[in-house]
Symmetry: C2
Subunit: 298 residues, 2 copies
């Protein structure tokens, strides 16, 4: 292990700890009525996720000089939105997944109705958490709410999910895949990076650079995910694999083959890292995360 990767490991571990603890504070306790709902929300939020989105928000906040604990609220909001999207995606009428991170999906554990409502409540909580963080100035809070909403609404993540479902069984084209990937993965991931920057009061060129970084990273992340669905094992991934092909999903490897997909992932990660060049060494954590996305096995 090089010292760089050891430094990144410590960084990720420390941030993950901060995220877990902040999420615990934002979610109502399990014994709050209605208990089933709060159990379901916590079950899905605390299921061993990588916390990539909140860590990206924190890293971009720090890169732009932010130092206060108030970043936890916008960062965790991105994770709450992500968790809601997974719960709804896994539903029988959507991707119909039984397993997520090695455990039964929310609807398998709590039933479809509670899963839908737990997702609804997590999405709502994300906005509450941002709006309630009095240490972030009100103008930044509004910008963060707007960013999260735009990235995850009908022109962003939800639109991507609809296109993804509608694309099943249709011959894949790179254009159609990029339509889905931009909305479903790149916009939410880009938003995570941007809300960190917005919380630090960024605008102009630094914000533009981080926006480009987040978008390239998000596109790479989704292609890598599609590759892992074809090459990973269920044990490594904590969920069923090979499902994209079985459902006729429109994936990048389905359109250009595994090798083409791997080449594209590496190129996008290269572009993401290039977008950070003006930040110099200070961007080491974001660069490390980009490298992690390229090399991840699960």
């Amino acid at each position: 292990m090089t010292s760089d990767s050891s430094r990144l490991d410590s960084y990720l571990k420390e941030k993950r700890g901060a995220v877990e603890s902040a999420l615990d504070g934002f979610l109502p306790p399990e014994n709050t009525a209605p208990e089933t709902l709060h159990r379901a929300m916590r079950y899905s939020v605390f299921s061993g996720g990588k916390r990539l989105r909140p860590i990206l928000a924190m890293a971009s906040y720090e890169l732009l000089g932010g130092a206060g604990p108030e970043i936890a609220a916008p960062a965790c909001a991105a994770e709450l939105v992500h968790t809601y999207s997974l719960i709804h995606d896994d539903l029988p009428v959507m991707d119909d997944d039984d397993l997520r991170r090695g455990r039964p999906t929310c609807h398998r554990e709590f039933g479809d109705a509670t899963a839908i409502l737990a997702g609804d409540a997590l999405l709502t909580l994300a906005f509450e958490v941002v709006a309630s963080e009095a240490r972030v100035d009100p103008a930044s809070r509004s910008e963060i709410v707007r960013e999260l909403a735009l990235a995850n609404g009908s022109l962003g993540m939800v639109g991507g999910q609809v296109a993804d479902l509608e694309g099943e069984g249709i011959r894949p084209s790179v254009d159609a895949i990029e339509f889905i990937h931009i909305r479903k993965t790149a916009m939410p991931l880009r938003a995570a990076v941007r809300i960190g920057a917005l919380a630090a009061g960024a605008s102009g060129r630094p914000l533009d650079s981080l926006t480009a970084f987040g978008e390239k990273l998000g596109l790479a992340f989704q292609i890598a995910d599609d590759v892992l669905d074809m090459t990973g094992t269920a044990e490594e991934m904590g969920k069923a694999v090979g499902k994209d092909r079985a459902r006729g999903k429109m994936t990048y490897p389905a359109a250009v083959g595994l090798d083409g997909a791997r080449v594209r992932t590496a190129a996008l990660i290269g572009e993401a890292i290039e977008a950070l060049v003006a930040f110099g060494d200070d961007a080491w954590a974001l660069r490390g995360i980009a490298d992690f996305v390229l090399k991840r096995r699960h």
Copy 2:
């Protein structure tokens, strides 16, 4: 028709027109990709609703001296949240309703997956619309986002919906019914009144009075709704009636009988109107709306 009720009719008609037109501007056009999603969102939003929530927001805004067109954003946000909640409530795994306002429900028209996602997108859009209204000062925007989220999350509307589903087939008690009614109906309706006041920069006693008004009105509204489910016709209501009893729903009339429920509605409306007393004649529109809730037939 008295001149008072004619004045209210004109007022409601004018506000309804403003709401329809503002909603049209906030929703992406039908030909925006993915088209199915935007068609489903518009189908449910433009289905002839009374627009009670946005009109309440506008009326309380004006009562506190607000006069600008910027109230349309917070007001419509309340309606977008309301529409999302109806789409999800109507789903087969929730209340399983085929008809809403005289037309097929969203999932009957577009399928369950699109209906869930249209609801998700409308909820997300509500927060985007508030956060994007630059004419409302940023601190008020944050307060409005927070208010909407708190009223409609796991401690508000979504929590009430879970309790409502869990209460099916259980012997009704007034305590359990009030738990559901406060969260499922009173908190969102109170929020609609409050966001109008917050947009006008209100705090202290005027805000407290309007909060009390909104809460009493919301409780009365839900009991009146339960009564209409037992006494109205499907034609009047634009949806199936008698469903609460068929599903063993925990309703106020089921606990205390129709007469008891009617007496309670009238008492709550009385308390709501009493909460407005300090505003004098200026509160005529809110008083008129309270009266409308008491007497409505659909």
